[in-house]
Amino acid sequence: MTKKKEVLLKIRDLKIQGYSDETWIDIIKGVDLTLHRGEVMGLIGESGAGKSTIGAACMGYARDGTRISEGSIEFDGMELTTASESERRALRGSRIAYVAQSAAASFNPAHKIIDQHTEAPLQYRLKKRLEAQEDAMDLYERLRLPNPQEIGFRYPHQVSGGQLQRAMTAMAMACRPDLIIFDEPTTALDVTTQIEVLAAIRDIVEQFNTAAIYITHDLAVVAQMADTIKVLLKGEEVEEASTKEMLDNPKEDYTKSLWAVRSFESPQRYRPKDGVPLISVRNVDAAYTGGEKVLDDVSFDIYEGMTVAVVGESGSGKSTTARVITGLLPPMKGEVLFKGKPFPASYRDRTKDQLRQCQMIYQMADTALNPKVRISEIIGRPAAFYSGLKGVALKNRVDELLDLIELEPSQYYNRYPPELSGGQKQRIGIARALAAEPTFIVCDEVTSALDQLVAEGILRLLDRLQNEMNLAYMFITHDLATVRSIADEVVVMQHGKVVEQGPKDEMFKPPHHPYTDLLLSSVPEMDPNWLTTLLEERGVDNVGDAASARIDPNDPKVTGANA
C-alpha cells in the first residue's frame, strides 16, 4: 500500500476552551496533529479526553459552549481558524465528512436514506440527482449492503443499525471527500455487526485513498483500522506512533495501562453440589403487548454468590429475561422461583422484602439516576424505604455505602448526578442497588457505556462486593471480554432461546455451538491483522447477519446441545 506523503491536515498547538461555571476552561491543552493524504489515524482515550472535540475541530467546528482559543488548523493549505463561516461550511460535506456515533439518531427519520445521501452532491452541484443516486447505489454495493439498488429508498427506521451505520459511511463518501472523521462509529453496535461495519469502512477508505480520523475508545478496533495511533488523556497528547509500534512497544505508562486492561479475571466459582438455586427461571415464554414472542422456553438457574453472564447480540432477549425476573414483564408461560418458592409474576404483587432481594443496575447511568436528586437521597432512599433508617443512622449508612464504592463521602454527599463522570455515576447506581441489601443483582450491560479503564474498575468493584457480601449477579452483556473476566457461568441466547449454557471454563473451550463460536470469533483482538485474517477465513460476505443466518439448523450442536 503506497501512500502519497502529502500533508492534508496540520494542527498545531490547538487549544479549545469550554464554558462552565461562568469561566472558560481549557479542555484541549495544546495538541499537534499531522495527517497525510490517505492516512488513517486513530484517536483513543477515555471519555472526556477530548477526542470528539478534536474531531469536530478538524472541520473548523467548535460545538455550542466551546471555542477554539489558540493554535492553527490547516486543511490542505487553508487556515480554518481564521476562515469565515461560509468558507468553512463549503468544506463540510464536500471535502471533509463526518460519521457520527449513532446513525439512528443522525439520520432524519422523515426522509428516505438516498434523499439524504444525495443532498450534499446536489447542494454543491457536483452531480445531477440521477447521477448522484446511481453513485449512491454503487457505494452501497461497495459497502456490501444487501439490495444496493433498493435499500436507499427505505426510511432510516426500516434498516438495521449496522446497515444504517454503513449507509452513513456511504453518505460521507458521496462527495468523495479528502478527509472523513469517524466518531465512534461502531461503539453502539454488537460484536457480530461491528465486524461488517469495520470491514466495509476499511475497504472503502482504502479504495478511494481517503484520509480518516478514527475516534474510538476500543483499542482492538483501532488496531484494525488505523495506520497511526494517537493516545489522548485529559486534552493532552500522551503519545503517537504507528499502529504496530504502539501495540508492540508502548512508551508511556498510561498507554501501557490501557493495554493491560483486559487482563483482569476473577477466579471461577462452581455450583454447590446440593442446594436450591437462588433464582430459577423455568420454561419462560414472554412477549410485549400485541407483539411476537420474545422469549421462547427460557430456563436457567442462578446460585447464591455466583455470577451468571447472559450473552447474545441485541434483540436476543437478554434484557427481556431481566424484565421477567424483576417482574416488570409478567411471563406468558413458566415462572420464576426465588429460593425454590415462586416469585409473584408482577412486581406490583411482590412484598417489600421480595422487592428488596432483587435489585437492578442499569446500562445508562445517565438515565438511571434522577438528575435533580442529590446523591445522598438517591442512595439513602432505598435504605430509608426498606430498613426505615432516619437521621444520623441514615447518614451513616449512606457514608458507609459511598465508602464501599470507593467514593469520598464528604465530597459526593450533596452533589447531583450530572456533576459526576460516567464511571462515578455507575458506582452510584451500584450503591443504590446495595443500599437495599439484596441477595441478587441484575447488571444490565453495566460496563458497555464506559471506557475500558473505567469499566475495569467497575468490574473489580463488583467482584469485590460479591466476595464480601455473597451476592449473586445476572450479568447481561454482549462483550465477551467482560464475560471472561467476571462470569462463573455463561448462558448464550439467540432469538429468544437459550442456545448453550454451562460453566465459563467449559464455554471458552471448543467445541461450541456454532452461534457461540461466531460470537467468540467476532471479538476484536489486539492483533492489527486480526480483521484481515478473519475475513480471509470467513470470506467477506460471511460476517454479521449473514454469518448467523448461515448457521446450519441441522448441526448436531444445534439440535441436541442443551440436552
Binding site: 422487592l355 437492578m360 438515565t367 438511571a368 439516576l369
Partner: protein, 412 residues
C-alpha cells in the same frame, strides 16, 4: 436648523463612526441605518419626527438602564446559586422582572400608594390631569391613578388565583395520567379534549351567563369551590393511597375537611361573582396545562430511574413528587407565566364586555371600557389601563422567554 437637529445628527454620526472604528458590526449597522432613515424622516416629518425618534431612543435606553441596574441589584441581594442563574438573564428578562416587581408592590400596598380611594369621587367627570390627579379623572370623576393602582391588585390577584387553580388541577391530572396510563389517562384526556374544543371566550360567556345572575351568591359559590377542591383532592388521594381501602377512607375524610376550609377562606377574600369568574377560568385553562404536563411527564416516566423507583415499590405519589416533578418544573414554570398572561387577558376582556369584575371595583379591563368614549376626543386616558395590561403581559413574556430558553438547555 435648530440646535437639536445639529446635535441629533452629530451624535448619530459620531457614534456610528466610533462603532465602525472599533469593529462593532451590529452596533455600527444599527446606528448608521438609523442615521440614513433619519435623513428621510427629517425631510418628511421635520424636527417633530426627529424629536419622537430621540424620545423613543431615550426611553429605550432608560428602560435598558433600569433593567441592567435591577439585575445587578437582584444579583447582589440573591443567594450564591440564584445569582449564578440571574447573571444569565438577558436585559429583557430583567426589565420584565422589574415591571412585575413594580406591579406586585403597587398591588400589595395599594391603599398606601394610592392617593385617593378606589371608588372615591373627587372631581368632575373626565377632568384633565393636574397636580392633584396624576392621570386625570375617569367618567365619574374618580382619580385615574388611584384606580390604576387598585386595579393592579384586583386584576392581577384574580388572574393569579385563576392560574393557580387551573395549574393545580391540570398539572395533577397530567402527572397522574402520565404515571398511571390506561383507561384513567384516556378518560381525562378525552374530557380535556371536549373542554378545549369549545372556544374559550364563548365558553366563558356561556358559563358566566349561567352562574352570573342570581346564582352568584355565597351558597352557590361555596358549593362550587368545595366541589372543585374535592375534584382536585381526589387526584391527590388516588395517588397517595393507591389500592389500600383504609388509605382512601382517611384520604377522603381529610380531603373534605381541607376543601371546606379552602372554600371558606376563598369566600373571605373574594366576592361570589369573582369566585365564579376564577372557577370558570380554572376550568377553561386546566386542559391546556394538563396536556403540557402529560407530555413533559410522559418523557420522564420512561426513564430508568422511574423504573428503579417502581421496582423499589414506591407509591405513585412519591414518584410524582420526588422523581417526576423536579424534572418537569422548568417547562411548567414557563407555562405558568404564559398561562397567566392568557388568563389575565381573558379576565380583562371579560371585564371589558361587562361580565368580569363588577363595578365599582377597579379593574384594568373595565377601566378601558368605561373611558372608551374619550378616545373619540383624541384623549389618551382609556389607553393608559390598556397600556398597563400590555406592559404587564409583555413583561411576563420576557421572563417566560428567558425561562424557556434555560429549560431548552441551549448554551451560550
Amino acid at each position: 436648523m435648530s440646535v437639536f437637529v445639529i446635535l441629533y445628527y452629530t451624535l448619530l454620526l459620531g457614534a456610528s463612526c466610533l462603532a465602525a472604528y472599533f469593529n462593532k458590526r451590529a452596533a455600527f449597522l444599527l446606528l448608521f441605518s438609523l442615521t440614513l432613515v433619519s435623513f428621510v424622516l427629517g425631510i418628511i416629518g421635520g424636527v417633530a419626527a426627529l424629536r419622537i425618534v430621540a424620545i423613543a431612543a431615550g426611553l429605550l435606553a432608560l428602560s435598558a438602564m433600569v433593567a441592567y441596574a435591577f439585575r445587578e441589584f437582584l444579583i447582589v441581594i440573591a443567594s450564591q446559586n440564584m445569582a449564578k442563574e440571574l447573571r444569565t438573564a438577558p436585559l429583557t428578562a430583567a426589565f420584565g422582572m422589574f415591571v412585575i416587581f413594580t406591579v406586585a408592590i403597587a398591588g400589595i400596598f395599594a391603599p398606601f400608594i394610592a392617593p385617593f380611594g378606589e371608588a372615591q369621587v373627587i372631581s368632575s367627570a373626565f377632568a384633565p390631569a393636574d397636580e392633584n390627579m396624576l392621570l386625570g379623572a375617569d367618567q365619574l370623576g374618580r382619580d385615574m391613578f388611584s384606580r390604576l393602582v387598585y386595579g393592579a391588585r384586583n386584576t392581577v390577584a384574580l388572574a393569579l388565583m385563576g392560574t393557580v387553580l387551573a395549574f393545580t388541577l391540570g398539572a395533577l391530572a397530567g402527572l397522574l395520567a402520565a404515571t398511571s396510563g390506561g383507561w384513567f389517562d384516556q378518560v381525562i384526556a378525552r374530557t380535556s379534549d371536549v373542554i378545549m374544543s369549545i372556544p374559550s371566550l364563548i365558553f366563558a360567556l356561556l358559563m358566566l351567563s349561567i352562574f352570573g345572575g342570581e346564582l352568584a351568591n355565597d351558597t352557590t359559590s361555596f358549593y362550587l369551590l368545595t366541589g372543585f377542591a374535592i375534584l382536585t383532592g381526589l387526584l391527590v388521594v388516588s395517588a397517595v393511597s393507591e389500592r389500600s381501602v383504609i388509605g382512601w377512607l382517611i384520604g377522603i375524610t381529610v380531603l373534605v375537611g381541607v376543601a371546606v376550609v379552602f372554600a371558606g377562606a376563598m369566600l373571605i377574600i373574594f366576592n361570589p361573582s369573582e369566585i365564579i369568574l376564577v372557577l370558570v377560568v380554572a376550568v377553561i385553562y386546566s386542559p391546556r396545562v394538563f396536556r403540557l404536563t402529560r407530555a413533559v411527564a410522559g418523557n420522564v416516566v420512561v426513564m430508568d430511574y422511574i423504573e428503579a423507583a417502581k421496582l423499589r415499590g414506591e407509591r405513585t405519589w412519591y414518584l410524582i413528587r420526588r422523581e417526576i416533578l423536579p424534572n418537569s418544573t422548568a417547562p411548567l414554570v414557563a407555562e405558568f407565566g404564559l398561562e397567566f398572561c392568557f388568563v389575565f387577558l381573558l379576565i380583562a376582556g371579560l371585564s371589558f364586555l361587562g361580565l368580569g369584575i363588577q363595578p365599582p371595583t377597579a379593574d384594568w379591563g373595565s377601566m378601558v371600557r368605561e373611558n372608551a368614549t374619550l378616545i373619540s376626543f383624541g384623549d389618551i386616558t382609556p389607553l393608559i389601563p390598556a397600556a398597563a395590561i400590555a406592559l404587564l403581559t409583555v413583561a411576563v413574556n420576557f421572563v417566560v422567554d428567558w425561562m424557556l430558553y434555560r429549560s431548552s438547555g441551549l448554551k451560550v
